[in-house]
Structures are given as C-alpha cells and as structure tokens.
C-alpha cells in the first residue's frame, strides 16, 4: 500500500476477518457491473516526496513572481508584505487541520479567532455585524446582491462601472439564477456619474453596488451615492479596499448598508488569485439575513466565557432551500491571516500605511504624468491605484509598452483595455508599502523609455 495509508498485510488479514469478507474488492460488490471502471486510472505512477518537490519547483520557476520583478500590478490583488508571524500562525496544526467548529468545546481557538475577526471587520467598515468570511471579493459582491434581492424582492440591480470587472461579471452570472437584471451606471471623469444613477433609480431597484476606491483608484463620494439610492429605498452595497480604510471614511458612516470586499491585502498571499477571503459586514437589521458562519459570544455550563457558531438557522444545513446562502466551507484560515495582520498593523499602523500609500500614489501619479506621452486619465483624488493614458495607438501598443517594461524587470501595471473598451490606451498602476520612491523612479525611467520607443516605432512605420 502506497501514499499515506498504514495497512500492513497482517492488519489487512485481521480487518477482513473481522468484517467477514475475503478481500477488499468484495467490499465494492455493491457497485453495479455496468458502471465499473474496468481499467486502471490513466495517470502517471506515484512519485517519492523529493521528486514531487522537484516537479513543483520546476513549475514555480516558470512563473515570474513579485520577487522576480518590481511590480505595479494590482487591479484587485496587491503585493503587500506578509509578516512572518502570519506564516507561523497559519501553519500551526491547530489552525491548519481542524474543520468548521461544529464541536465548540474543542474549537474555542477557531471560534474566538472568528469573533475577533468579526470585530476587526466591523471596526474597519463601520458596520455592526460581520460574518466569519466568504470566498473572496467578487463572489462577496454577488452574495450581497443575493441578500438584497431576498430582502427587497425588487427585480433591478444597478452597478457602477467603477466596480471591479470581475465583480460585475460575477453579478451578471449569478443574477441569471436569482432573477434580477443588472444595469451599469457609467463613470464620468473617473467616478460614478451621480446624475446617471439618479436617472436610473426607481422603486424597482433593490440595490446599488459601488466600489471604494473604485477600480480606477478614484475616491467616490459614497455619501452622495448612498443618499441617492436611499431615496428610492434601495440598499447600498459597497465593495471596499480594506487597507485604505485607515484614511478613508468607514463606508458604514457614509450610509452604506452592506460593505464587502477582497481580503487578500490583509496578510494573505497572492497565490495566483486564491485562496484569500471575502469580508461581509452589514447594518444590524440584516444580521439574520447574512450568509455564512457567524461566531457569537456565550457562556458554558460553569459560567466561563466562550464562543459558538450562532444564528445557524440561517444556514443551508438547517434551513435548506430557504437558507440565506448555500455557502458551507468558506475561508476560515485566510480570515485568521486577516485578523492577525490587522492586529499586527494595529490602530496606528493602518493609518500610517494608508497615509504612505496615499502619498506615494500621489508622487507616482505626478511623476509618471510628467513623462512624454503619458497623461492622467482624470484629475480626481486617488489612493493606492491610479489610471494613466499612454499616447500610443491602441491596446496592442499598450501591450508592447508593458512588454518592454517587463524586459527591463518592471511590471508597469494593468492594461485597462483588458476590461474597459473605452480605455484602450489606459494603464492602471498600483502602489503598496513595498514600492519605494526608488522603485517609482525606476518605473518612470522604464515606462518613459518604453512609451518613447513605441512611439518611435510607429512613427518610423508611418514614414516608411
């Protein structure tokens, strides 16, 4: 026997004897002949640990990670520093290997982590109730829209074009199931067009979805957008970048009903897109309509403080087809990383980090916009990310510019044309605490040269 099993021939003989069968195969007699696999599984033979390690190293070496280049790529996931204590705590057996805390007496560690996590998310978002995590950012937006649909029964959903394209795409996919239309509200000058929102609103709209800062890094006037939505009784769902909430007002203080978002920037690795976690917080009246696990405080038979999964009647294993969501396994370990990160960052740290990103974003934006052939997409205030316009011919030309930058060891950012047809010449640049002034200056040098080279090539082509 191979792998991670431990049955010796003596064990096998004894166990078969106890069961009362002659062979292991006999235990599979219940599988009808017509659906039997009559050949071995067509996969390569197993390998020893060192060979598998070598294979996974070979594959890792074919990827260019954020350790291999100076990266300004963001667009939803960011290259923040993950403190060493997170690796240590997330790899502890006691956090890594249990499952959902169905037996609270032996799960107080995990349950208290959830309770602390919920507290931290409530503080960040300014909303009193948080669940213990959902899958990730865009599906959290989808979950919020489902909650709004169940609460309002209204058939229309409005979503700002400033919301992450993956979130909008996810909403489109899920809305087919829960029966809402999804209509987009355009951006003007980098922010959600308030007049367009007002014009689109009606009493048929269950929720308005916005993002802060939006996909272009622009700071939205959340208060004004919320007020407009509330005039028609629509809920306001705001996707937020949690690491900007040290400097940006808490969405809960700006009229937002449900604040969700991608938690990766809180102490989670990039991992080529997951696993990370999604957070989900709301006003008190939505507590019993929330999706997912929620930890609550209580006492034990001797009066000790303790924690349990609470309000489980919301969930699929009890309420079944009437459940608030179908979610079961979510992202507990990643949420642990999140709350440890927020504890490590601390009350002062989250403001300092936000301020640092704000200042470096400003510096980078001004520095790059001063380059020949590079302009700002708009002049509105931004934090952590901003959009530029490159004076090159089209989306393919932006691709060539990025390729030149990559060859110089710099990942200059995200080509906006990948998801915004109206910005084929757009470039989205992300800033973290890991990108120093020297890195930004290096980007300016490389990007300036790449744009110049592209323009020279096209110019030469035109005259030829």
């Amino acid at each position: 026997m191979a792998g991670y099993t431990s049955v010796t021939p003596e064990d096998l003989a004894h166990m078969l004897d106890v069961i009362g069968v002659g062979s292991v195969e006999e235990l599979f007699d219940g599988i009808p002949a017509g659906v039997r696999l009559r050949r071995p599984i067509d996969l390569p033979p197993g390998q020893p640990e060192q060979a598998v390690y070598a294979e996974l190293r070979r594959l890792a070496a074919r990827n260019v990670s954020t350790e291999d280049e100076i990266t300004f790529l963001g667009a939803g996931m960011y290259d923040h520093y993950v403190p060493s204590i997170i690796d240590m705590l997330m790899s502890r057996s006691e956090f890594l290997t249990p499952y959902t805390p169905y037996q609270p007496e032996v799960s107080q560690g995990g349950l208290q982590v959830m309770f602390e996590y919920q507290t931290a998310i409530s503080e960040l978002t300014g909303l009193p109730v948080s669940n213990a995590s959902v899958y990730e950012g865009p599906s959290a937006v989808g979950a919020a829209a489902y909650m709004a649909k169940l609460a309002s029964k209204r058939p229309r959903l409005l979503v700002s074009r400033g919301v992450h394209p993956h979130s909008r795409a996810t909403l489109e996919t899920l809305a087919v199931g829960y029966g809402t239309t999804v209509e987009e509200i355009a951006l003007e000058d980098g922010v959600t067009e308030l007049d367009a929102l007002r014009a689109a609103l009606s009493d048929e709209v269950g929720a308005v979805v916005i993002q802060q800062p939006n996909f272009l890094g622009t700071i939205e006037d959340v208060t004004a957008l919320s007020a407009a939505a509330h005039e028609h009784g629509a809920l306001v769902i705001c996707a937020a970048d949690p690491l900007t909430l040290g400097v940006l007002e808490a969405p809960g203080n700006q009229g937002v009903d449900v604040c969700v978002g991608e938690g990766q920037s809180l102490g989670n690795r990039l991992d080529f897109g997951g696993p990370s976690f999604g957070f989900f917080a709301a006003t008190e009246k939505h507590l019993r309509a929330m999706p997912g696990r929620i930890a609550g405080e209580t006492t034990d038979a001797d009066g000790r403080r303790g924690f349990v999964l609470t309000l489980q009647t919301r969930e699929q294993h009890i309420r079944r087809e009437k459940a608030t969501s179908n979610i079961c396994t979510s992202q507990a370990l990643n949420a642990l990383g999140g709350v440890v990160y927020l504890s490590w960052l601390g009350r002062q740290g989250i403001v300092e980090l936000g301020e640092l990103m704000l200042q470096r974003t400003h510096y980078a934006r001004e520095t790059l916009a001063a380059l020949d052939g590079v302009t700002k997409l708009h002049d509105r205030p931004v934090v952590r990310e901003f959009a530029l316009r490159l004076a090159v011919s089209d989306r393919e030309a932006v691709g060539r510019v990025l390729e030149r930058c990559a060859a110089a060891g710099v990942n200059a950012g995200y080509a906006l044309g990948r998801s915004y047809d109206e910005h084929p010449d757009g470039l989205l640049v992300a800033i973290t605490e890991q990108r120093s002034r020297a890195d930004i200056d290096r980007l300016a040098e490389v990007l300036g040269a790449a744009v110049a080279a592209e323009r020279a090539t096209v110019g030469a082509g035109a005259t030829a």
């Binding site: 019993r288 489980q312 009647t313 009890i318 309420r319 009437k322």
Partner: protein, 127 residues
C-alpha cells in the same frame, strides 16, 4: 419550562396551534407539545400587522438553535397585533405558551371556521 398542559377553554389545530376567540378577534399561539418538540425557542419572526393569514397556512417562523418551524394559522383573518415582547423574551413561548407566549391577534374574516377546530380532549387524544 411550563408543566405539560392543554387548557379547556382553547380551540386547537392538529398542527399544534391554539386559538382563543373573543368577540371576533382570536389570539394564536403554539401548544405545550409544539414548544416541547422544538426545544428552547430563541427567535420568533412575526408577520406584519395588517397582513392577512389563512387557516391551515403558515404565518410566522419560530426558531430553536438547530431548527426552524413554520407556525400554522388555525383561523383566517387580518393580523391586528403581534407580540412584540417576544423579540426580547422568546423563551416566553416555552415558559408560558398559553399566556405571555401568545404570538398574534387576528380579526377573523370567517368566524364559522372555528367549527373545524378541535376541542381539548380531541386534540390531546391525537398526540
């Protein structure tokens, strides 16, 4: 928790609900048997005042830690009052199912429906 009991003066529905009719208005609740089967009640989700209920159909939900049950209306009519005190003290449904644990008051639309309900002895015989 209250002692097992089924007051004589109430009318019963086989789904373990009771009604106390007084001058065209009925008070509804669940029986001792129902609260005992459910276990400790932690939440009562009332209907809205002004909404209508139909005999034999559910009008509210009552929850224990690990179960949700629909509460069935024994008679039809319009909700004129809900027991808002249950929001803070849902345990009244266990402690005093025929008193403080009442759920709604209903202005009956068809008082003759009471003839279809059970008296105490018939209901208890069916348990």
């Amino acid at each position: 928790m209250a002692e097992a009991g089924y007051p004589d003066e109430l009318l019963y529905h086989a789904e373990h609900d009771w009604a106390r009719v007084d001058d065209g208005v009925a008070t509804f609740g669940i029986t001792w048997f129902a609260q005992d089967a459910l276990g400790e009640v932690v939440f009562f989700d009332p209907p809205e005042v002004g909404s209508s209920v139909t005999a034999g159909e559910f009008y509210a939900e009552v929850e224990s830690v690990k179960a949700v049950s629909d509460v069935i209306a024994p008679l039809s009519g319009e909700i004129v009052e809900v027991n808002t005190a249950l929001a803070d003290t849902p345990e009244a449904i266990n402690d005093d199912p025929y008193g403080d644990g009442w759920m709604v008051k209903v202005k009956l639309s068809d008082p003759d429906e009471t003839t279809a309900l059970l008296d105490r002895d018939t209901y208890v015989a069916g348990l």
